[in-house]
């Protein structure tokens, strides 16, 4: 359908996109690495339970860890080979994670049977079997999201990709348009909704043009603004419904899925392929050849960097994910997850590592907050140790940690750090 403009969102920031580094590069398939290390914590909620033993032969796409409870997802072997080691390592965000090391041998692949014209129940079951999680970054199990308890009337597909540098969703939208549409239709069938809308930022005209020919897809042009790709922000821009924090969008009749998730659902249903590969962007000026890569889950960051020609200059920061919400890595000894959307090597010039100066009370953080909060109050009271006041005057529990406040802060105050600390303290209390 002809593209229309989305609703204007108050707040938000305009970071430099830097997408030109990789926006025109087609997705490359990275060769299978010799060893992969697949983490069992691939989604929000509980980690999966290891279902293989050391020395066992596994096929590509075979379940190696079983979901534990409703909010958890199955984990699959991303290469065919032998399980060599199962050990605990410190993950990217500092938590202990169990990693299953697989040495690649042979090309045995496992596939679920392909489904033609499936029913809603079949799609739901397949999404659960294939361990699909939200690929926008949070990694919420999709199986839970396609079975909402309240009636839903619109499916929003998230093609905003508002994070700077990242272009993996953009490339996916341009190259796999039809698969994404088919995946979105499948999800819509599972949900029982007719309306499908896709929100795309206006800096991706080729992606917008790619979706316009489909008559059943509403294309919504979003302003170039961070964080329009947030679930609530996108739902507001497309439908005008304001969803407060603490409520799930389904209660307001909206379900939001990333384009990557739609693509994965399409593959899962039509080919029976479990989720063990992810398109990610390798970018930043400190890497020699920025690329959009299709990599196996569990590939080490080191190998990915080497495949991209290594470092151009000494990186100041190595980021897994987007620069606004990603995790800074201390070294290259980390492995990709289902949800990893990028590996960024930021040079001295790009990376923010300024010393904080005193707060000016300028209120810019409150102006840009997409959730209309007061981050400076949170930072002020949490520094004083009064976490209840930090919640009362800063509404910190409604924060989505998008990082817009800290981005804009002229005094370079560590606001997200204060917000996370306050949240942790408040959770400890209750």
């Amino acid at each position: 359908m002809k593209a229309v403009k989305g609703k204007y969102l108050f707040g938000g920031v305009h970071p430099k996109g830097k997408k030109e580094l990789t926006a025109s590069l087609p997705i490359e398939v990275m060769p299978t690495p010799e060893v992969v290390a697949v983490s069992t914590s691939q989604s929000l909620g509980k980690s999966a339970v290891v279902a293989v033993t050391v020395g066992q032969k596994v096929k590509e796409g075979e379940v190696i860890a079983k979901a534990d409870g409703a909010i958890s997802s199955d984990v699959f072997a991303s290469v065919a080979g032998t399980v060599t080691e199962i050990k605990e390592l410190t993950g990217a965000n500092g938590d202990k994670e169990t990693f299953i090391f697989i040495k690649a041998e042979g090309t045995d692949t496992f596939r679920f049977p392909a489904l033609t014209s499936p029913t809603a129940e079949e799609i739901k079951a397949r999404i659960k079997d294939c361990g699909i999680v939200g690929l926008g970054g949070a990694g919420f199990p999709t199986a839970v999201k396609v079975a909402p308890k309240t009636p839903v009337d619109i499916l929003c597909v998230n093609g905003a990709e508002c994070e700077p540098y990242l272009t993996c969703d953009h490339r996916l939208m341009v190259e796999k348009t039809d698969e994404i549409v088919r995946g979105a239709r499948l999800i819509a069938t599972a949900l029982g909704v007719k309306d499908i809308a896709i929100g795309i930022e206006k800096n991706k005209p080729d992606a917008i043009a790619a979706f316009e020919p489909y008559e059943d897809i509403k294309v919504i042009i979003l302003g170039k603004k961070y964080p329009l790709g947030g679930e609530r922000q996108l739902a507001y821009a497309i439908t005008g419904r304001r969803i407060p924090q603490g409520k799930i969008p389904a209660e307001y009749g909206v379900v939001v899925h990333n384009v990557g998730t739609c693509y994965a659902v399409c593959e899962a249903v039509e080919q029976g392929k479990p989720l063990y590969e992810k398109v990610l962007t390798v970018s930043g000026t400190a890497v020699k050849e920025p690329k959009n890569l299709l990599v196996k889950v569990g590939t080490s960051v080191k190998e990915i960097i080497e495949y991209c020609g290594g470092e151009a200059t000494n990186p100041k920061k190595v980021v897994q994910g987007g620069p606004m919400t990603g995790v800074a890595l201390a070294n290259y000894e980390h492995y990709t997850h289902k949800t990893t959307s990028g590996i960024l090597l930021l040079s001295e010039k790009e990376a923010a590592a300024d010393e904080p100066t005193p707060c000016l009370n300028c209120g810019k953080c409150a102006d840009v907050c997409p959730m209309h909060l007061m981050p400076m109050n949170t930072a002020f009271y949490s520094a004083a140790g009064d976490f209840d006041a930090a919640q009362k005057y800063g509404n910190v529990l409604s924060c989505i940690e998008c990082g817009a406040c800290e981005y804009i802060c002229p005094a370079k105050r560590p606001l997200i750090q204060a917000i996370r600390k306050t949240k942790a303290e408040l959770r400890k209390k209750n």
Partner: protein, 406 residues
């Protein structure tokens, strides 16, 4: 890969704006006013500006040097301390000094402005914790301090292009503002609006006379995103209407209230309202942080300036800035933005049909009777039996109030 790698919480990219950059922008925005002041009031104005800026920066430096612990050690490696001071120096004191000089008349003595600058930085700003911690605008406080300490500060010279030395007559309080406030509205004795706008021949403070320069500074600040464009406008519009409204009362003695919109611009262009609106009210540190708070702040400030001006017949902008600054913590505390999508939870009152109410009340009475098997007051039981409707109502109210408490 080497050890220079840094880890931190996100975001990993940040805007290039810094406190120092913003303050430099303010300095640049103040330049047209400073230059206009020099053109109109001569080298005296330049001297005052320099004295104020140097005094402010020097005071901040001396305070920094003394206040950090280990004074004796500091003296040994003074070079290092200077370097560290320069690293954290953010040009706020330059802004304070420049504004202080610009809101004073050219007749101010150099030692007066020196004392005022030291007061503004040392007592108003640094004693409260330095940048970002001061309760009131240092420049406004410095000006107020000088106005009540030195009588000379209230005499003005007329601005004359080309007069590099002060030979023009000194007006003692006879500015256009005092004429305007006196209530003798005689168009002949008043200055034309264009003169007021450009500041030619107008008695006033160094930076406040040339309104054109202020507007240039305002546009620069808006383009650079330092202030929000609507803030000064809101203040000015509210002030203008309030001032016209108040000055109407002056006509009552001569024959009734007149709402004369012709006075709108003269009020706006007289005194320091415009300068205060652009450079002093939107000061980050001492203005509210939330949008609702800001709207309230500018509306109240506008009305207050107009009302106080009418009754005191004096230039009160600096006083009002100080006064409003003191309300800011209060405003910030009680005017908090509601989070996105937040809806006030309405108390749902259960609507009951009259039949249900009666049934409920009867039940309640039964319970009462069983609980108090022997009623002490015969009259009470009689009442309930006689008029069930009344008791039903009272029970209904009780049930409600219980729910509200819960």
């Amino acid at each position: 890969m080497d050890n220079s790698i840094v880890i931190s919480t996100p975001p990993h990219v940040k805007s290039k704006r810094t406190t120092r950059g913003i303050m430099l922008d303010v300095c640049i925005a103040l330049l047209p006013c400073a230059i206009a002041g020099i053109v109109y009031f001569g080298w005296l104005a330049l001297m005052l500006e320099l004295v104020a800026v140097v005094a402010c920066v020097a005071t901040e430096f001396v305070y920094y040097f003394i206040a950090n612990k280990g004074f004796a050690n500091k003296c040994k490696d003074a070079g290092k301390v200077c370097l560290r001071w320069w690293k954290q120096f953010d040009f706020t004191s330059v802004v304070t000094g420049l504004i202080l000089a610009l809101i004073l008349p050219a007749t101010t003595q150099w030692y007066e402005i020196l004392i005022g600058s030291i007061f503004a930085i040392a007592i108003v700003k640094m004693l409260f914790g330095g940048t970002g911690k001061n309760l009131v605008n240092p420049a406004a406080a410095g000006r107020v301090f000088m106005a009540i300490s030195f009588t000379a500060v209230t005499t003005y010279t007329a601005a004359n292009i080309g007069s590099l030395s002060i030979q023009t007559p000194v007006f003692s309080g006879a500015t256009n503002l005092s004429w305007l406030l006196s209530g003798e509205h005689n168009p002949v004795s008043g200055l034309p609006v264009l003169d007021l706008f450009l500041g030619t021949g107008v008695a006033g403070c160094i930076g406040e006379t040339c309104k054109l320069a202020i507007i240039v500074g305002y546009i620069y600040l808006c383009v650079r995103g330092v202030i929000k464009w609507w803030q000064p406008l809101l203040f000015i519009v509210v002030f203008g209407f309030a001032a016209v409204f108040m000055s109407g009362f002056a006509f009552i003695a001569t024959g009734g209230y007149i709402f004369d919109m012709e006075l709108f611009l003269p009020h706006l262009f007289s005194g320091g309202v415009l300068f205060g609106a652009v450079f002093m009210f939107p000061d980050y540190v001492t203005s509210p942080k939330g949008v609702y708070g800001q709207i309230l702040y500018y509306i109240v400030a506008g009305i207050l300036v107009a009302v106080l001006r009418y009754f005191t017949k004096l230039e009160v902008t600096s006083f009002v800035i100080m006064l409003m600054n003191l309300f800011v913590p209060l405003i910030d505390k009680y005017l908090i933005r509601k989070p996105f999508g937040y809806k006030k939870v309405k108390k749902v009152k259960e609507k009951k049909t009259p039949d249900e109410r009666v049934a409920e009340a009867v039940d309640a009475l039964k319970v009462d009777e069983t609980a108090a098997a022997k009623p002490k007051h015969g009259t009470k039981t009689e009442n309930t039996e006689k008029s069930p409707a009344a008791s039903v109502q009272s029970v209904g109210v009780d049930v409600k109030s219980d729910k509200e408490e819960a």
